[in-house]
Amino acid sequence: MEIFSEIFLFGMIKGCIYALIATGFTLIFAVAGILNLAHGTFFMLGAYISYTLFNSIQIPLIASILLASLLVGFIGIILDAVLIRPMRESHTYVLVLTVAVAFAAQEVILMIYGPQGKNIPNLIEGSTRVLGVVISWHQIAIIFITLIVLLLLWLALRKTKYGIAALALSMDETGARFVGIESENIFKLVMFVSAFLAALAGAIIAPILSITPLMWDMPLMKAFVIVVMGGLGSVLGSVLAAFILGWVETFVGFIISPHITGVLSLVILIGFLFFRPSGILGRRI
């Protein structure tokens, strides 16, 4: 039985990180129609900036993680204002520009930090036993932070003026503008939230992964798979799909081999494209 509780817990941690990455990715796509290939770059920047803040300026880790996520959120706004907004009408150029940004960021980070992996310490040291499995406090912290953030996001989308405006924009942009929603401000806000969530994911997973300039493409791939599984533009579907993917990958990793998880997510992606392109829930935010 122990193996099942291990799969449950470690799959859940994977799912948490995937959920943080994918909700931002799907949110900016649903609301602004931007398929942001630089989303993985936010993840990477979150990890690197929190590493720098923690090591060079030596502020507490939890503060540096939060500060890094906020900073990356503003980087997202700048990216949106300078590069994406003028080209938002053309899907093609948005894709090209964001992939160019992703590679440029990779090169800049490579120049500053070099190719060696960096590490930051755990938020909370030590480990404990849950359901008979040894699990570090940091991993428990990841689960709680994610659940709180997702709950806040859900409340923000459902209960606040801005969240409802974002929902309206995702349904019909012209109609939303007619009733006086300032779409550009909402796009900025959504871009901020999207970049913030990705950076937070990068910063809190950094103690477990090693931070390298090439770490941006894994989250991008997972975000693709998850948004197709959950339905393009559905935030709830993305959260569900993130946890399902986390559990399935961990299960297959435990039972067969951890090397095939990358291929596994592609198989899932193709399966969904052939048999259920609208995803688990279809297009609902």
Binding site: M87, L95, V99, E107, V108, M221, V225, G262, V263, L269
Partner: protein, 318 residues
Amino acid sequence: MSPENKKKIPSVVFFLLVFTFFFSIPLFTQNFYYLSVFTTVFIYIIFATSWDVFAGYIHLMNFGHALFVGAAGYLTAFLNIKYGLSPFIILPACAIFCGILGMFIGLATLRHKGPYFAMLTIAFAHVAHESTIIFSSYTGGEEGIAGIRTLTSSWIGDYYFILISMALIFCFLLLYTRGRYGLLLKAIDQNEDAVLASGINSTFIKTMTYAISGAACGIGGSLFAFSLMHVGPTSMEQVMSTTILIIAIVGGIGTIVGPFIGAIILTLLNEVLREVADYRLLIYTTLVVIIVFYAPKGAIGFSRYLNPMCLFDSFGRK
């Protein structure tokens, strides 16, 4: 003679000059370095034009073109090293294999509207790259497979083999896009519903064009492996796909001629920038941002400044 044909003459003259130059290079110099630089130019011309025939015309961005480069490269290595087949069998085999691969990806994605295609092209190339590491007992892992025999027995022979393959593929793609299918592709880009309403199966045309794009690139990928005598996972990396895309955008997408010129410019620039190799990707990505904002037609867009000669007018996008 119609004005349309009159306009075409200078560009035909231009291409005759360019190809005469390419064919006569070995007469001036037998230097291995210069020949290998131009061989690289020709191979990148194949990559970029084959990318353009699909992505440039329909504006569905293909971010995983390196999949075909790598797939053809590994197939070449297997067929050449294990079975000792000659290039004349391997090149068509690679074309067919990559064509089927393209058809499969096209069938999975091109039925759907939206960004599924761009996403799946990245995913496929990524997983193919990962598979080379997973199945390292067959693919040699990070180091790849070395020891592919050369195309012909001499450097000059290789040069002409690759040049002629490039010329044939280039002419084929040019004819394909200047004919009925090119017009249909442009129509699909403008208004797919109208094309469907005219009783044309747009999904079939898109899938077929993607398969052709893959097949042409498969030949290029095979030649790439032959000319390096080696194939490795780097041929399938995202950097490769992005380089192809950047070459096409810098040259001017949706023209076939644009990527041809883009490949010449960027590959030669690449040699000049050898000292600052670390900054190369940064320079390229900056270049592409500038091109997208200030010259979305690419290098070929500048041809209108040469108006007295109306050099490329008939090829440039309206």
